[in-house]
């Protein structure tokens, strides 16, 4: 197996699917400023997906470009974590999902920017700048909603209870990671998890939220085993490419 291809594909799919989900908010945000912010973050994620999937295509060496990978694979070939494909829910659910993701991506990109793989390092360096803003934005909202009104606290606590089961998959590790960690190309996710735990505990505590004690883990995305939601995302995402095959847009 081409481990680096698989690894970059996973990163690219996370950005692609979360960017898609966030873009569903466009025009429907709770305030105009947040409509702008969410569209902006979505745009950053689509940009990351373009760079990452483009590089994955090069690594694969079968002539597939970023668009071919984004639009023309089957459901079981997408490798994003289940967290990013979860429905938007209310604004608090979206911000919490984003916060869990950003808290993972920031330390990951901090390490990856020093990767011995120059191409990956360059993408990570650029994405890190964006991700720092995303994390600042999402953590501020988690705190604001957690420590806002009784209603907002209850709502985001419920989102926390729902999404918690998907967080562990961010640190899913298999032979792909093991090989690349050994070669010194990518960081160990155990290191990233330590930092993630610290960020998440600090923010959720400040937000006066209760971290669920149920540590039941939901995973499968990294192996292409998804929730029912992904099929519908792909039905929209791939619509044009499937309905009008082999055309340039």
């Amino acid at each position: 197996m081409n481990s680096l291809f698989e690894y970059v594909l996973r990163l690219g799919d996370d950005s692609l699917i979360l960017g898609h989900r966030l873009s569903e908010w466009c025009g429907h945000g709770p305030i105009l400023e947040e409509d702008i912010a969410m569209t902006n973050i979505s745009l950053d994620l689509v940009g990351q997906a373009t760079s990452l999937l483009g590089y994955a295509g090069e690594l694969e060496g079968k002539g597939r470009d970023a668009d071919a990978l984004a639009f023309l694979r089957f459901d079981r070939e997408y490798k994003n974590v289940l967290l990013v494909e979860q429905p938007n829910g209310d604004f608090g659910m979206t911000m919490l999902r984003q916060f869990f993701f950003d808290s993972f991506r920031k330390p990951l990109f901090e390490k990856l920017q020093h990767s011995t793989d120059q191409h990956l390092a360059a993408i990570a360096e650029k994405s890190l700048k964006e991700t720092k803003y995303h994390l600042k934005h999402s953590s501020e909202w988690v705190i604001r909603l957690g420590d806002g009104t009784e209603e907002s606290n209850a709502r985001i606590q419920e989102s926390l209870n729902t999404l918690w089961r998907y967080t562990n998959e961010l640190f899913f590790t298999d032979e792909v990671d093991n090989e690349l960690v050994e070669k010194g190309i990518v960081p160990s996710l155990q290191e990233i998890q330590i930092e993630w735990n610290a960020t998440v505990t600090a923010v959720l505590t400040e937000a006066t939220l209760t971290i669920p004690t149920n540590n039941w883990k939901q995973e499968g995305g990294r192996k292409g085993l998804h929730s029912e939601h992904l099929g519908y995302i792909l039905a929209e995402l791939q619509y044009m490419q499937r309905a009008y095959p082999n055309m340039q847009w």
Binding site: H28, P30, I36, T39, A70, I143, R144, T149, E151, W249
Partner: protein
């Protein structure tokens, strides 16, 4: 306090306008001038915000990553325009939330073009090319509008609109040169959006109730019919260039005047859509109202948190 005669103030005000001196928020202005601007700028803001919906409809289905990114950026620009414009109405003493509520109750209007559905990807091209193209015709003269904050907002808005117009034309040109299915899709979009785009300039001068006063105040620099003619003159050759046919059997170039003559606009349709009977009026306003209602708890939480934080700081 010295009793200043209103007519003296009005004369000074009109003199400023006649000398192309900008009116600024703290300057004296006739109440009617203020109200006209609030009405016009808020309608413009609402159009930007409602205008996000028909294009937002295709973001999740954009055909490739580049188109998706460009469309996201364009719709985001529109949200930004809405924000500057609501801010401009605030300089006139309007309250942003009340202004938005007027949209939701149907009291305030927005551009009728956004009450038409976006049915295919080519509609993203048609909207950029025609709708943003028409918006530019309307808005470029507003960069010289007598009210300073509006004029300055328009400078930036127009730069972005001009980029939007080009990206729309580029989508259309691409489709028109593509496969037969793509070309048919482009032609169909032009057929559906052509007439509503001409209607964007508003009623004929003879039926426009606001034009005369607005021209005197330099809020408006050209009449609706002048701008509409300018749009037709610019756009018809563009359609020809990419091999699409403008859906108007009466369209012809008049060598003497140097302008295109075009067919009669269906004003019954225009007024019906303005009244709320367009294909998507209800969906558009419902979507905006729902966004506000669903976001209420978020805004309340943000206010409550800000108050708590301020209390902690002062404690």
């Amino acid at each position: 306090m010295r009793d200043i005669n209103i007519s003296e103030l009005e004369q000074k005000f009109q003199a400023k306008i006649d000398n192309d001196v900008k009116i600024e928020p703290n300057d004296w202005m006739p109440e009617e001038y203020r109200q006209t601007l609030i009405r016009q700028i808020s309608q413009h803001a609402h159009s930007e915000i409602v205008g996000m919906l028909p294009e937002g409809n295709w973001i999740t289905r954009a055909p490739n990553l580049r188109r998706k990114a460009v469309l996201l950026a364009k719709v985001q620009d529109e949200a930004g325009h809405g924000l500057y414009l609501y801010s401009a109405t605030e300089t006139l003493g309007a309250d942003r939330e009340e202004t938005i509520d007027d949209l939701h109750t149907g009291k305030a209007k927005y551009s009728s073009i956004f009450n038409y559905p976006t049915l295919t990807w080519a509609d993203m091209g048609a909207i950029g090319w025609l709708v943003d193209g028409a918006a530019i015709m309307n808005q470029v003269p507003l960069c010289r509008c007598s009210y300073g904050p509006y004029a300055r907002a328009m400078v930036r808005v127009c730069k972005e609109e001009s980029f939007h117009q080009r990206q729309g034309f580029e989508i259309m040109a691409h489709l028109a040169q593509g496969t037969p299915e793509q070309k048919a899709m482009a032609q169909d979009a032009l057929n559906r959006f052509w007439w509503p785009s001409l209607m964007m300039f508003g009623p004929s001068d003879a039926d426009s109730k606001h034009t005369a006063q607005s021209v005197q105040w330099k809020i408006k620099r050209h009449t609706n019919d002048e701008l509409r003619q300018q749009f037709v003159d610019v756009t018809v050759p563009q359609a020809a260039l990419i091999g699409l046919t403008v859906p108007d059997k009466d369209l012809k170039f008049n060598e003497e005047t140097g302008h295109y003559e075009f067919g009669e606009i269906d004003w019954t349709e225009f007024w019906e859509v303005v009244k709320g009977n367009g294909p998507c009026n209800k969906e558009r306003v419902d979507a905006r109202r729902k966004a506000k209602e669903n976001g209420m708890w978020v805004r309340e939480a943000a206010n409550a948190f800000a108050a708590k934080r301020a209390a902690r700081k002062s404690a």
